[in-house]
Subunit: 326 residues, 3 copies
Amino acid sequence: MFVNNPLSGLIIFAGLILQNPWWALNGFVGTMFATISALILQQNRGAIAAGLYGYNGILVGLLMAVFSEKGDWYWWLLFPNVFMSMACPIVSSALASINSKWGLPVFTLPFNILVCLHMVATGHYNRYFPQVLIKPIASTPNLTWSDVNVGMLFRAVPVGIGQVYGCDNPWTGGIFIVALFISSPVTCLHAIIGSASGVLSGLALASPFQNIYDGLWSYNSVLACIAIGGMFYALTWQTHLLAVACAFFCAYLGAAIGNVMSVFGLPACTWPFCLSALTFLLITTDAKAIFRLELANVTYPEENLKNYKKMRKLERMDLKDIQISG
Amino acid sequence: MFVNNPLSGLIIFAGLILQNPWWALNGFVGTMFATISALILQQNRGAIAAGLYGYNGILVGLLMAVFSEKGDWYWWLLFPNVFMSMACPIVSSALASINSKWGLPVFTLPFNILVCLHMVATGHYNRYFPQVLIKPIASTPNLTWSDVNVGMLFRAVPVGIGQVYGCDNPWTGGIFIVALFISSPVTCLHAIIGSASGVLSGLALASPFQNIYDGLWSYNSVLACIAIGGMFYALTWQTHLLAVACAFFCAYLGAAIGNVMSVFGLPACTWPFCLSALTFLLITTDAKAIFRLELANVTYPEENLKNYKKMRKLERMDLKDIQISG
Amino acid sequence: MFVNNPLSGLIIFAGLILQNPWWALNGFVGTMFATISALILQQNRGAIAAGLYGYNGILVGLLMAVFSEKGDWYWWLLFPNVFMSMACPIVSSALASINSKWGLPVFTLPFNILVCLHMVATGHYNRYFPQVLIKPIASTPNLTWSDVNVGMLFRAVPVGIGQVYGCDNPWTGGIFIVALFISSPVTCLHAIIGSASGVLSGLALASPFQNIYDGLWSYNSVLACIAIGGMFYALTWQTHLLAVACAFFCAYLGAAIGNVMSVFGLPACTWPFCLSALTFLLITTDAKAIFRLELANVTYPEENLKNYKKMRKLERMDLKDIQISG
């Protein structure tokens, strides 16, 4: 969730335990083994310490537990969990080799790949590791606007933020918002805008209300809006608007990917976030106000903005020097 | 359709109105908003003026109307149309960043991505924006060679050219042929060869005759044959044969992609054209007669050929100079 | 199968004839036309002579015959066989253009693409070229550990090696092992380890026993283990362990891809091998013992190791020279 702050990390973990201790345990195992595997493979120490290998691991462990049909405390699940977490740094490293040609991050692609890999390899009918049944839509849902619960729509905003970690508890979502605010207010703001965009998109595309209430339309937009709004682009008015556009595009893409994946019995995971954010980061433009940071300089929105302003100031001074000396 | 000529463009638009004014309106809205969005994103002015952003927009608007289950004059459709058209330059720009590493154009990939995105996000059972029902083949079609109508097979050639814009009216196809001939006779010739290759492939692969008559086997081959035959390669005998091979490969690929996409309720769009043409443009060879033009120098076949001949002449003169001075 | 040795090649071909002469004939036709097409396209002569274009051709011809519903000696099948084999060098060349940006080989990707293309373009219900019916799993298989036949599990190891060429005869597999041993003992060892990893993975993921016995869990792991174990990486303890990890990852991926492809009525082919080996070759690491060879220097494990040791020795001598002169 782009939070580079130990306190925020702890709060998020507390939120996970509040939601479901078994899921939190699986997330912990995932982080640990992903980090161990990264150490064995002698990946970059700085990146490991910053948790770049851990955050895909936590998601892999967590979501494998969330989508398991066997319910909580099915201890055998730890085996594929350990295996997949250890494969995390391998997939991360391979994807980084590809994406670095365009200066792009890998986001949560390793998590998406590995969770989908596990789920589709086993499937709903597996004897040892059955997955929750997910089926394509086969009839028109019955929607009447009088049924809509406006309170639940507002509640969907924090729920959507919680769904980033597969949690449908609004209090968990609230805790995540606090953690985000501590880490970076800009990130927190974009998370809320992103979640609201998802809710609006769900209404516009005639989604069953329950899916909107559960935050399923929001969590990808949350991540996409954070990534574009100040994290990988320096925050200006233009990139702020781009972030809002990306949040809506991401929600649309989420519906599309959800339907495609359901054919294979898979959830959308955070594929929509990854693909929409990567698309918006690949834009080339003549506009100076849309400035993509180099991957090595990405920290958090406030710091990014400071560095960007410094850079622009130096540029202008150079220009003046040239004019004077000219 | 690689036509860089205002008169030809007007004739094509007239053909669209003849086919269906509601589709033409949607195409117009698509072009307009794609262009506006490209201006907002400060994309290259030359490329915008040449219509490089518009041509994906017209296809997005048009095909969203063609595949809508709600029929003509369903005004709400303009909302997703505007949204998707405005997303066009973003996707185009992102794809161009990727493809430019190999000096490849984006063709109609943004159109394919965005129309499929809209169609699969909503689907056949959507309340607001239902799509035409497309299903995988589930039984062997009954084909008897005595049923084949040779006249209809010949008629399929212009119909296939019309299907590039989703039009199944042979007169519309005829108008397009005239427009192509005005713009470039070489393009026109390859369009006809491509369309005929599609018809032959349909017969060879045991397609139901109606699909062949409707030009569904042809339109991708038309585009692929034009692209390889003189447009992105300088026209020589070798590249002409390559273009014919590409047309057949594209028709085969079209059947494959059509079957894959039908699982998701999607049409093949022009994916087969994009993928086959990109494959044939990625070939590296020691043959001097297969010369791929740089993307910036691509205009139209006749002009490309002139430039290529000039270049070869200069090369030979340089060689002579070296021999003399040697 | 990474065998660069005419005698081993002949033995493998003998194994094919033993399995099924019609399949062998199709393989031969595939090789021949792939090579002819490569010559026409003026591809690199050295690569053609080394059989780099032929090996995808043999697989294309072979597997098109294996998966044809019409059974043996259906002579019409030679038409698509010739067409697809001739498309082989085109797809190979295009993929090589992409993969060479990362110094990666194309492996059997052209074969996978072309066989899947043919199979999904025609499908089970095609009148001329029907394919074997492949369907997604729709119920939990009944597994009782008392039913397991340990002898058959051991027999699955050579069968799995035979399945690389679609052969389920253990004697054919045995012949292939001999051919591999003649060519390179290291390759032979990794083939056996890979096949065994596949068997173990099948048991761990609750596969129906028959699939394991038939070697369907093994053949991808065989290829992946060979590729990583000494072929594209210099053989050290670290890369040997990486090869074992890759074999397990590949088996897991094989189950996943098999399930995804079955939705389209397709077999997994060797997609799992290609994707897992490419992933493991894309890893970047600070570990000096994981050394990827340049594509042009890849020969066979024993030779690769000799070159690698020579290089390391030279490096150390340089270091000493610097220390002395320092």
